[in-house]
Symmetry: D2
Subunit: 141 residues, 4 copies
Amino acid sequence: MTSFLNRRQFTIEWGHCDPAGIVFNSRFFEFFDWGTWTLFEAALGVKPHELGAVYGIMGIPLVDAGARFIAPARFGDAVELTSRVSEFRRSSFDVAHQLFVHGALAVEGKETRVWATRDAADPSKIKSQPIPSDVLARFEV
Amino acid sequence: MTSFLNRRQFTIEWGHCDPAGIVFNSRFFEFFDWGTWTLFEAALGVKPHELGAVYGIMGIPLVDAGARFIAPARFGDAVELTSRVSEFRRSSFDVAHQLFVHGALAVEGKETRVWATRDAADPSKIKSQPIPSDVLARFEV
Amino acid sequence: MTSFLNRRQFTIEWGHCDPAGIVFNSRFFEFFDWGTWTLFEAALGVKPHELGAVYGIMGIPLVDAGARFIAPARFGDAVELTSRVSEFRRSSFDVAHQLFVHGALAVEGKETRVWATRDAADPSKIKSQPIPSDVLARFEV
Amino acid sequence: MTSFLNRRQFTIEWGHCDPAGIVFNSRFFEFFDWGTWTLFEAALGVKPHELGAVYGIMGIPLVDAGARFIAPARFGDAVELTSRVSEFRRSSFDVAHQLFVHGALAVEGKETRVWATRDAADPSKIKSQPIPSDVLARFEV
């Protein structure tokens, strides 16, 4: 059984790049966030801003993120970002991202996120929740 | 009568700059936002995140912004941003920003903001409110 | 005679939005920059990162930018950005941007840019140049 | 022997935060970049934008970055970012970052960077170089 893979194409903009003429590192983490929302929308058929209401959660907050920068991406580059859940655990999951520049792997990323509700006793705190089985099922392909 | 002027010093960071090696334009509007919050904190003695609670408003949303780019700012430049309210009207006001690089004017900006509450009938809408006289008084120097 | 209009569709991302749940103002200036590059690519048939080499310029630096915020754009909103040159002068031009959220005008922007080369005597300085007539012709529709 | 530690204080801005009211993840990687430049300036006594010229390198490009998000940082929070080199290898090194909100650890980050020159044969490529011993010495405290 493999996990649903989402592909998203976009172009590297001038404002994404730094004085070295390549994408500034923090932008890739912004791209990964785009990728995760798009992946969840594609897998679940739910608009990102409705995810909370549909599943009774406050969101899928990030608890860990990492990236390996293999090759640069430059202004004007057409890139493809692929995103898939690499592991589901009881109440958290990992999303693996790969960004390709002209077909070659340029950046690998990983996010760990939590399926979370607000704590009823203290709404400023969040609490992880078991990921519903129908959500899990939607990611199986 | 002149209006309270706030000064804020900071350094241009690598990630603020674009492939031309100069600050990317959108960053200046981010700096102006920093300037306005700092100005209001200095003038009113209220922490930015407590402004809403203290004055019973939802915030001071931006309705107009503009900038004139006179000279570039570069990575490592020590800059000074000055911000002051150039005009108070009944329920809106203009903030004038000037960014100096090594003492020379590099960017001029202007923001128009509204003193706003949420509409009681439709909380997704905002409504302008008269700016309280004690707020006005705090900006007179 | 009217000027070439470019349309670009995209979705408002989580990371574009601020604690008020709406797009943070500086992001719109980033979007305008996207719009201008896309407009020039569409009108001239030249990739943005090749514009300098093709026309012998260092770029089209921004000297003035402004925006009027009419209605908010929120996470998940499908937006359309239209961009066209509203006026060409000898060596500078204005780009008018309009951002529509679900078909309604939400933000109007204007950029003034210069057709520029590096100063031969001092490459750290830029010099405006007459915009070539074949560039002007490409924008007429 | 321990490694030089740099401390940097700043305030979380409105534009750093997302609709959940907390700092958007990519911003932390921007903060880490600020931290590394400030650390190198403090340890070496060289302005960041002069680092390349002083040491004959093109820079200290990032090849790996990661963060663990332990607690949120919010608009108006006074934060302290500490940065130090946790390991020097022959031609690369790790920078460990810790961000404290009101004294409590909120985010831990790690960057791996390379001491790099441009490849003489192909300037679009970069090549790692042995880190000079006088650089290493400057980080020992």
